[in-house]
C-alpha cells in the first residue's frame, strides 16, 4: 500500500501488519499522555515527590536519556571531527536515537517543572551561574542541531526526495553537516558536562558535591566522558535490538566492532577516572564535610537496602570494569552474547550513575537529626517516564519503515 514510500531496495512488512504491531505501543503512549495531562492539569501532587525529594525519577530519566543519547554526539564527533568515516553506516541511527532521547528529555522536563508555561524564563531571566541554565541552553541548541541532522534523513525519503526543493535542501544540509555536527559535539560536550555539574555543584549535599576545576566540578568531566563512553553502547544495543525485531542484519559487524572497541576504551578510561573520583570523594571530600563515606549509604540494616552500598559496586564493577574489559578485547566484542551483555551493562551503568547522583543526595540525611527518605515513584511518574520509550519505538518504527536509516541494509539483505 505504502511501498512507494519505502527506501530503495529494501523489504518491509505490510501496512496492516505494521499498524497492528504498533497498537500495544500506542496504548502505552496514550497511558503516558494521560498521566502527562494529569500532571499538567492537576499539578505535581500527582507524583510521589516531596520537599525532600524535589528531584526524583524524572530528573533521573532526563539525565539518563541524555547520557545514553550521547551516542549521537560521540559518533558524530568521531565521524566528522576525527574522520572515522566507517561510522557513517550507523550515524543515522545514532542521530535518530539521539533525537528521540533529547526530545524525550525536553518533554519530561516540561512535565517536571511546576509552571511549564513559564519555562522560557530560564532563557529570559537566565542565571549564568546555574548549571541548569547551561544545561537548558546547550540542550535546546543541541536539540536544534539534532533536528537539523535528522531532517535530511526525512528529506531523503524516496517520495519526498523527488521534489527538487527537498532534494536540494537535503543535499545542502548534508554539505553543511560537518559544521553542525562539530557545533553539536561542542554543545553536547558542554551540556553533558553541565548535567554532571547539576549535582556536582550542590555543596549543601555532600553525596553529590565534588571539588571543582575552575567553575566545573569533577562530575562535569565524568558525565561527558561517561556519556561518550556509554552512549555508543546504547546505540549498539538499540541497533542490535532492531536487528532482532526486524530479523535482519542492518549494520556490518565491522562497524559495530569499531564502535564497540572505541566505547570499550572510553569506558575503561572513564571507570578509572570514576574510581579515582570515588576514592578522593570518600577519603578527602566527605571527611572535610564531616562524613564518613559509608554514611552516604543507608546500610543501617543491611547493604541491600534501597539506598545501600551495593549500588556503588554494581555501578563500578558490574557495569564499568566488566563491560570495559569485554569490549576492549577482540574476543569479547566479537562474541555476540558477550557484546550484548557488555553494551547492556554499560548502558545500565550510566543509568545507575545518574540514578545515584540524583536519588542518593536527596534521600540521604545531611542534618544530624534528619533521617533517610524513601521515595517510590507514583504511577503517573512511571507512565510519563515510559511515555518516551513508547514514543521512541514509534518514531524508530516509522523512520525505519520509510527512511533510509541503514545505508548497508540493502547490501546486507539483497532482495531476491
Amino acid at each position: 500500500m505504502d511501498s512507494v514510500l519505502f527506501p530503495k531496495g529494501v523489504k518491509r512488512c505490510s501496512l496492516p501488519m505494521f499498524l497492528l504491531g504498533l497498537i500495544p505501543v500506542v496504548l502505552v503512549l496514550l497511558w503516558g499522555v494521560y498521566a502527562m495531562l494529569l500532571c499538567w492539569i492537576k499539578g505535581l501532587n500527582q507524583t510521589n515527590m516531596n520537599d525532600s525529594y524535589g528531584f526524583a525519577l524524572w530528573i533521573w530519566a532526563d539525565l539518563a536519556v541524555i547520557a545514553i543519547g550521547g551516542g549521537a554526539f560521540f559518533s558524530g564527533l568521531l565521524k566528522y571531527v576525527f574522520g572515522k568515516d566507517e561510522l557513517k553506516n550507523i550515524i543515522n541511527y545514532a542521530v535518530l536515537i539521539g533525537f528521540i532521547c533529547y526530545s524525550s528529555a525536553l518533554l519530561i522536563l516540561a512535565i517536571d517543572v511546576g509552571q511549564p508555561l513559564r519555562s522560557w524564563f530560564i532563557f529570559w531571566h537566565a542565571n549564568v551561574h546555574s548549571m541548569l541554565t547551561e544545561v537548558a541552553f546547550c540542550l535546546s541548541c543541541y536539540f536544534a542541531v539534532l533536528t537539523i541532522e535528522y531532517i535530511p534523513l526525512i528529506l531523503e525519503n524516496r517520495k519526498l526526495n523527488e521534489i527538487p526543493f527537498i532534494h536540494n535542501m537535503s543535499h545542502n544540509m548534508h554539505g553543511a553537516m560537518a559544521v553542525f555536527a562539530a557545533t553539536g559535539a561542542f554543545l553536547s560536550c558542554f551540556h553533558q558536562g553541565s548535567l554532571g555539574g547539576v549535582p556536582g555543584v550542590l555543596y549543601g549535599r555532600p553525596y553529590a558535591y565534588r571539588e571543582a576545576i575552575l567553575v566545573w566540578p569533577w562530575t562535569f568531566f565524568l558525565y561527558t566522558w561517561s556519556a561518550a563512553a556509554c552512549g555508543p553502547c546504547f546505540t549498539i544495543l538499540v541497533t542490535k535490538m532492531t536487528e532482532v525485531i526486524t530479523r535482519k542484519k542492518l549494520v556490518k559487524d565491522k562497524v559495530i566492532h569499531l564502535l564497540a572497541e572505541i566505547s570499550g576504551w572510553m569506558i575503561l578510561t572513564y571507570i578509572i577516572a570514576k574510581i579515582i573520583d570515588t576514592i578522593y570523594w570518600a577519603q578527602v571530600t566527605a571527611p572535610l564535610m564531616g562524613f564518613h563515606w559509608t554514611e552516604f549509604f543507608d546500610s543501617a540494616r543491611s547493604s541491600l537496602t534501597y539506598h545501600g552500598q551495593w549500588i556503588l559496586y554494581l555501578e563500578i564493577i558490574g557495569c564499568g570494569i566488566i563491560p570495559a574489559l569485554i569490549l576492549i578485547t577482540k574476543k569479547g566484542r566479537q562474541n555476540t552474547g558477550a557484546l550484548w551483555f557488555a553494551v547492556a551493562m554499560a548502558t545500565l551503568g550510566v543509568c545507575i550513575n545518574r540514578w545515584t547522583m540524583v536519588m542518593q543526595p536527596m534521600a540521604m540525611p545531611v542534618m544530624t537529626f534528619d533521617s533517610w527518605n524513601l521515595y517510590l515513584p507514583s504511577w503517573q511518574e512511571w507512565a510519563t517516564t515510559i511515555l518516551p520509550v513508547a514514543y521512541g519505538i514509534i518514531l524508530i518504527a516509522i523512520s525505519y519503515r520509510y527512511l533510509p536509516i541503514f545505508p548497508q541494509e540493502s547490501e546486507l539483505n539483497p532482495s531476491d
Binding site: 529570559w124 531571566h125 542565571n127 549564568v128 547551561e134 541552553f137 541548541c141 536540494n168 553543511a176 557545533t183
Partner: protein, 57 residues
Amino acid sequence: MFWFSFEWIWDMGHMVFMGGLWYALGIIGLGMTYVIIKTILDTFYPDFFEPGPDDHH
C-alpha cells in the same frame, strides 16, 4: 538573556556564557540560513552559481 533585561550584568560570567550561547545560536542560525538560501537558489535559480546548460546532474 538580553543585555537590556535588568538582571544583566557586564561581567565575565555573562560575557562568556551568553557569548557562547549567541555564538552557537549564530552558527546554527547562519548555517541554516545559508542552507535555505542555497537551496532556494539551487532550486529556483539553477543558473545562479554555474551558468550553463550542463548544470543539472
